[in-house]
């Protein structure tokens, strides 16, 4: 099946989400090409295993709608039937625009898909992963938004062999571009993740989490409740509208375990939860649950590690 993957660039390279989708596409033996949208000057995104096209946009204007128009053109000219992108801000915008152009409703939050005798079918996880929802797509083109960490990334060698198409800017000028500073272990690839919720009681108490994280060489995450409260930047949010993590050990501190949070962490290998409410849903996911006060348990942990 002729397939187009919308690629995204992080740190001058293809994002892990893009490589995961490529991995799946290869395992299904799809006839795949990648069209990457970004604004980096000289990214290293040429691929040894399939064609790569770079749609280069200026980062001083918001012109994703123009990128979508270009991708629509490619889809129509090359008779592409399957269009795949990660559930990221950029791909959600692009796939939504494309769905109107192609008059085909996309499927969001896909965790698995298959192609059999020309038909695409998908699996979504609903109710925080308690159920799997299966869909068959009955339109000429199938558009899928794939959740991060759904598939193993492909192993590729990057080269400089790709075509670059410069996109026009739009009238919507962008200013004050702010890039969050990243330091320490990152959520996506850390073996240990410690996440904080409202049960840390106060922003100041996140120092306890930082101390523990540095002792365990862990990345720090949080719930949407504390991100909304301004305790932590959005880039550290774990869950449906944040990051998906799959560490060896996930330590949930003062987190109730709402389904929207579970979606982002339930595939962690070993889950430790500290919560004073023994009925908290997070305990259903925990391999080791401590019914107790975060502010008493974590300081003792810090003193004894």
């Amino acid at each position: 099946m002729k397939t187009l993957i919308i690629g995204e660039i992080i740190n001058n390279n293809l994002s892990s989400g893009t490589l995961e989708i490529l991995g799946k596409a290869k395992s299904l033996d799809l006839d795949v090409q990648v069209v990457t949208v970004g604004s980096d000057e000289n990214p290293s995104i040429g691929l040894d295993l399939c064609k790569q096209t770079y749609l280069k946009r200026q980062n001083n204007s918001l012109n994703l709608s123009k990128a979508a128009t270009k991708i629509s053109e490619i889809i129509k000219n090359e008779e592409i039937s399957l269009i795949l992108g990660s559930s990221t801000y950029m791909c959600r915008d692009l796939i939504s625009f494309l769905s109107v152009d192609l008059n085909s409703s996309p499927v969001s939050n896909v965790i698995d898909f298959d192609v059999a005798s020309g038909n695409v079918s998908t699996v979504n996880s609903i109710n925080g992963g308690e159920s799997l929802y299966k869909t068959k797509i009955n339109s000429g083109q199938a558009l899928l938004l794939i959740r991060p960490k759904a598939f193993d990334p492909v192993e590729v060698n990057f080269n400089d062999d790709f075509e670059t198409i410069d996109l026009d800017g739009s009238d919507l000028e962008v200013f004050d571009i702010f890039i969050e500073e990243k330091s320490g272990p990152q959520l996506e690839d850390s073996k240990v993740v410690i996440s904080a919720g409202r049960g840390m009681v106060d922003k100041e108490n996140l120092e306890l989490i930082e101390t523990l994280a540095s002792k365990l060489n862990a990345a720090i995450g949080g719930t949407r409740a504390i991100v909304d409260a301004g305790w932590m930047p959005y880039s550290q949010q774990v869950g449906q509208t944040g990051k998906t993590v799959k560490p060896d050990v996930y330590i949930a501190c003062g987190i109730s375990g709402a389904t929207q949070h579970q979606v982002g962490m339930k595939d962690s290998k070993f889950v430790i939860a500290i919560n004073k409410d023994e009925e908290a849903p997070i305990f259903q996911l925990a391999d080791l649950g401590i019914v107790g006060d975060t502010l008493s348990v974590i300081p003792k942990l810090n003193d004894n590690i």
Binding site: Y89, N103, S105, I126, D171, L172, F178, V271
Partner: protein
């Protein structure tokens, strides 16, 4: 300035979402999706500055209209909705098709959404509506500064960026982007006399089809029968032991 702002009625999120034949079961009484409160708040702030008219647009079983009332209580002027059997289980594109037709019928300059609904969370409708209306889409707005110009801050993967709001556009507002207001008793009473109008689907141009076919829902056993220990002062030791066993320390 005419503003259309989307408000979805959803089953009370305190209860688990249930499905019948692949479609979310909707009780007679549904509530306003909290996600939409952020968009409504932005619309109301714009109204205060620019004397705009704010109309709620909605699609889905109207039932007791509680959710629409809640949207009006916040301070919107009126509501229009489409409720049609043929839209049951509508996919995101059909939904966007209907909502963009509603926005068009109102000659809305600015169309505002939350980023994704709490029950369906496909998270594509605002962008799809912008494409239907051929308007710029400013998605994932997390801060709004209203002076003579309106400056919007967008969330991006790497951080954020700012834009000036054009005269016509579609905006989606993230949760936490603004602080939604709580209606007082007077607002609640005032909402009762605000117009709520049903629009017939036959008055709208609908080109979308149901291209997604429901196959099956399968339940997976998630819950782990892990150990649960009540802390009496020494439970930290269990964690230390476990971390050693897992070779983290």
């Amino acid at each position: 300035m005419k503003i259309a702002v989307c408000a979805k009625q959803i089953p009370d999120p305190a209860n688990e979402v249930t499905y019948s034949n692949g479609t979310i079961e909707r009780p007679e009484e549904q509530v306003l999706d909290d996600t939409d409160r952020y968009g409504i708040e932005v619309a109301l702030q714009l109204k205060e500055k620019f004397d705009a008219e704010v109309t709620i647009i909605s699609m889905g079983p109207s039932g007791t209209q509680k959710g629409l009332q809640q949207a009006l209580q916040m301070g919107a002027d009126k509501a229009v909705f489409v409720d049609d059997e043929s839209l049951k289980g509508a996919n995101s594109l059909m939904t966007a098709n209907v909502l963009s037709e509603l926005a068009k019928s109102l000659s809305a300059d600015i169309v505002i959404f939350g980023t994704e609904s709490t029950d369906g969370y496909s998270g594509t409708v605002p962008q799809q509506v912008s494409r239907y209306l051929d308007l710029e889409c400013i998605s994932y707005v997390k801060a709004v500064e209203i002076n003579d110009n309106v400056t919007l801050t967008r969330q991006t993967v790497e951080g954020s960026e700012k834009l000036n709001m054009p005269e016509k556009c579609v905006i989606s507002v993230t949760a936490g982007g603004v602080e939604p207001r709580y209606p007082n008793f007077k607002d609640i009473m005032a909402a009762k006399s605000k117009p709520i109008e049903q629009v017939s689907i036959s008055d709208l141009t609908i080109n979308t089809t149901q291209n997604l076919e429901f196959i099956d829902i399968e339940t997976v056993e998630n819950s782990k029968s892990g150990e649960k220990i009540v802390d009496e002062g020494e439970a930290y030791q269990e964690i230390v032991n476990k971390l050693k066993e897992l070779k983290v320390i």
